[in-house]
Amino acid sequence: MMHALAASSQGREVFPYPIDVKDFGNGLKLVGVRFDSPGLAAYYSVVRVGSRHEVEKGRTGFAHFFEHMMFRGTESYPEDEYSEVLRAMGADSNAYTSVDRTVYHILASSRSLPKIVEIESDRFQNLKYSKQQFEKEAGAVLGEYNKSAANPFMGLYEKLQDAAYDVHPYKHMTIGFLEDIRAMPTMYDYSLEFFRRFYRPEYVTLLVVGDYDWEELSALVERHYRDWKRGGNVVDIPREPPQSAPRDASVQWPAPTLPLLAIAYKAPAFSTEIVDMPGLDVLSQVHFGETSPIYQSLVIEKQWVDFINAGATDQADPPLFTILTRVREPEKLADVRNAILDEVERIAREFPDEKKLEATKSHMKYEFLLRTDTANSVANTMAHYLSLTNNPSTVNEVYALYDRVSAADVRALATKYFRPENRTSVTLTQAPGVGGQE
């Protein structure tokens, strides 16, 4: 049975597991995290490429599509054989793509690590697939879009990103614009170019969490990845100019839905240098968490909305701090919006309660400890920070910053970021005339 190595909640650093690091001279880094999961190890390949890198017209969604192609085999291990190797291990294996990263993960017996290093290094260096395989997978990606297309939250986010950004690729969702997804089958040659550009050691960090022998592991990685050459590709990602006026957009949804409302502000990029980003994380809990005044007022007492939450995700470039809610009664939409805007003004004016601030810091620390209880969940958390900074100490630095956030910081950040000219609001409501149940 696996469990954390008596993760002390009293220690100064939130991440209590020993970390090993090795660089291989070609830009590739290996990070090991020793976690008490006897006989089990998680192997993550963290690629710092996501939809943020899709700067060319007509190529939205490509980073995600390419993730699918990474499972289509090499000369040494064609698609079927690659699957067969993982099957024989009894491994759990998959991948995901987000705005800033693509992460490939395998969870399997530690005994399988030599084979995993072999097949993973092989596909990252020698991927090879036919045009036909490529075209069929494009159909699967369209299917992936279709499976979520009925979800009004997807419609809301699409509109929000599009309205809030003018030039930065955050303007589109990771899955991409539908017209670009439909055109994917024609982009075989571009996919080869994409591989050449981004599947290079300087974009990748390998992460192993669990039960492993560091000397053996690093020698193994060195043997299999040392001939991998840097690509030297640098993408010029457009900087989003500062917003100068509030923006409003709306979506008429063609199916029955409760109204959705997003009020978003441009927020700071991920950083452990300044307090802004961690400060806004604390703020989101203090002022929009379950025990916050607005949650208690709108969800519990007035029952105008069925949930409300807020926050910004950690991103390489400035993300949105989004306040999101779903309104129970369509006619209350304006009241809800006003209540949120009043609250935003209030928190820029008043200091948060010190006791609430302390409770929040405790909440965030224990939330982290409760979330990191298996080799896989620890790896998932570490992969998140490696994708942002390529530095395994980041996780501890961020949590140290959380501890230092003061009531004055919280108020100052609200003043700094929650300005009307920095705001984008989107409502999604049921289109007039849509049938449905009352």
Partner: protein
């Protein structure tokens, strides 16, 4: 290290206590043998709403707001997971907070507040799910629930766990109080706790609940046998905004984890449709080779995915199970083909069986892969409790033991015995409902449309067989989505 302990309480409801020295987290899984199958006719949703009043409501001592305030610094969880046969209350906290957490946990289960304001909110949440989310926001969920509706006509498994629109509308707070009083008994409770527990903690909890919950001997109602059919009974749920067509099909099974045949069928099902991996025939044939959709899987028991993982949620045990195939949304022009394709590959398994080599590969895979299902102590606790529901040894050990003694003939015989059927109920969510219904009803040729031209000769040859596969259609009907789950 894990130490198992069982404290006698009665029959298959003995507490499951997993002692895990050094583990910083404590998990509670309190399984009440109360599910939506117990909903009174006309009050469908009562079990789920009662569970919400406990997990999203206050206690005698604390209002919901005060409960939230108490749990906030601990970041501790408490939620209910209602299903057809059981409702599980799951709690997770750090060991640092065991006692203050337990004080809130016990209050919520033993002394729920039943506040009218909480009732209004929870009831509205269920109604909004049934009238807005389910018919509108997730066609796959709609397809699966429509399939259960058709599989279990005249059976208490029929309606969604969340109820029906008419059922939930008619529930009063008094109904909830009465349902709680009658069913939240010590006999219906199975206690599960796991973690680095202080000495005597588990005994204290068991004693506490034994004193606090009423005792009332009630056995679970007997379940009728689900109806069998003569051929395919197809329901097309008409939804004008469906861009793609979600498909679920299946038939009731006579076996569960309690039965010997379940294990060879588990191997066969992994081969046919392992959930979200490329091991399954359906996934390879329909998605990888043809690009029809995002995924195609099959199941021999109720399966709810645990978050973003590929594993099943524990504590969804049922006395009756069904076989099902889940075809994720396909382009409308390929819906009929995809339905035939799924049945084609199932029939190939039934008719030809697995080869010895395929069997060995799946046995090797499942023996290792199943161990990943219980990575965390919390999931292990859930699986241990389910094992007592089915009266087996620890399920993961049972899989290893059964698979070690199994032969390919066992698998092929079990497939013949349990999957050689044509009485599928089929649910399809589609915008072109009438057209699809008549095409399926008339067994019209369903030519596949590929987005791009390339496909291997082998695939094209099979396509020609699939396109004209004659399905024994018993009935076809079109149901407007607005009429689904009304009552």
């Amino acid at each position: 290290m894990i130490l198992f302990a069982a404290l006698a309480l009665g029959a298959d409801r003995d507490p499951v206590i997993l002692q895990s020295p050094g583990n910083p987290l404590v998990s509670f899984r309190f399984v009440l043998h109360i599910g939506s199958a117990l909903d009174p006719p006309g009050k469908e949703g009562l079990a789920a709403l009662t569970a919400l009043m406990l997990s999203q409501g206050g206690t005698n001592e604390l209002s919901l707001t005060e409960v939230m305030e108490a749990l906030y610094p601990m970041a501790a969880d408490f939620w209910s997971q209602p299903d057809k046969e059981v409702t599980t209350f799951v709690g997770r906290a750090h060991r640092d907070h065991l006692e203050p957490y337990y004080a809130v946990f016990r209050g919520r289960l033993q002394k729920p507040r039943f506040d009218p304001q909480d009732f209004e909110r929870n009831k509205n949440d269920l109604l909004n799910y049934l009238t807005k989310s389910l018919p509108s926001a997730d066609d796959e969920d709609l397809g699966k629930k429509s399939l259960e509706w058709e599989l279990y006509a005249g059976h208490p498994y029929r309606h969604p766990v969340q109820g029906t629109v008419g059922g939930v509308e008619s529930i009063t707070l008094d109904d909830v109080k009465t349902f709680y009083r009658d069913n939240y008994t010590i006999e219906n409770l199975q206690i599960g706790i796991a973690g680095d527990l202080p000495e005597a903690f588990a005994d204290r909890v068991v004693e506490d609940f034994r004193k606090s919950l009423p005792s009332r001997n009630a056995s679970a109602p007997t379940l009728p046998t689900p109806p069998t059919g003569k051929g395919l009974e197809v329901t097309v749920v008409e939804k004008s905004t469906a861009e793609a067509t979600a498909i679920s099909l299946g038939f009731p099974l006579e076996i569960t984890r309690s039965d010997e045949d379940f294990y060879p069928l588990l191997v066969a099902n992994t081969y046919l449709g392992d959930h979200r991996t490329f091991n399954g025939v359906l996934m390879n044939e329909l998605r990888a080779k043809r690009g029809l959709n995002y995924g195609d899987y099959s199941y021999i028991e109720a399966f709810h995915q645990d978050g973003g993982s590929t594993f099943a949620l524990p504590n969804v045990p049922r006395r009756q199970q069904s076989f099902s195939i889940w075809i994720r949304p396909v382009a409308p022009e390929n819906a009929h083909f995809a339905l035939r394709g799924a049945i084609f590959y199932l029939r190939r398994l039934v008719d030809q069986g697995m080869t010895a080599e395929e069997f060995e590969a799946m046995r090797e895979y499942l023996t290792s892969y199943s161990k990943l299902w219980v990575q965390s102590l919390d999931r292990r606790l859930g699986y241990q409790i389910d094992s007592s529901f089915y009266g087996t040894n620890f399920y993961i050990d049972e899989i290893e033991k059964r698979l070690a003694a199994m032969t390919v003939d066992d698998v092929n015989r079990a497939v013949k015995k349990h999957l050689d059927r044509w009485d599928f109920r089929v649910a399809m969510v589609a915008s072109n409902a009438e057209e699809l219904a008549s095409a399926v009803g008339e067994n019209r040729k369903s030519k596949v449309t590929y987005q791009t031209s390339g496909a291997s000769e082998e695939v094209l040859a099979e396509d020609r067989e699939i396109e004209i596969l004659a399905l024994p259609i018993d009935s076809v009907k079109v149901v407007p989505v607005a009429e689904s789950f009304r009552k």
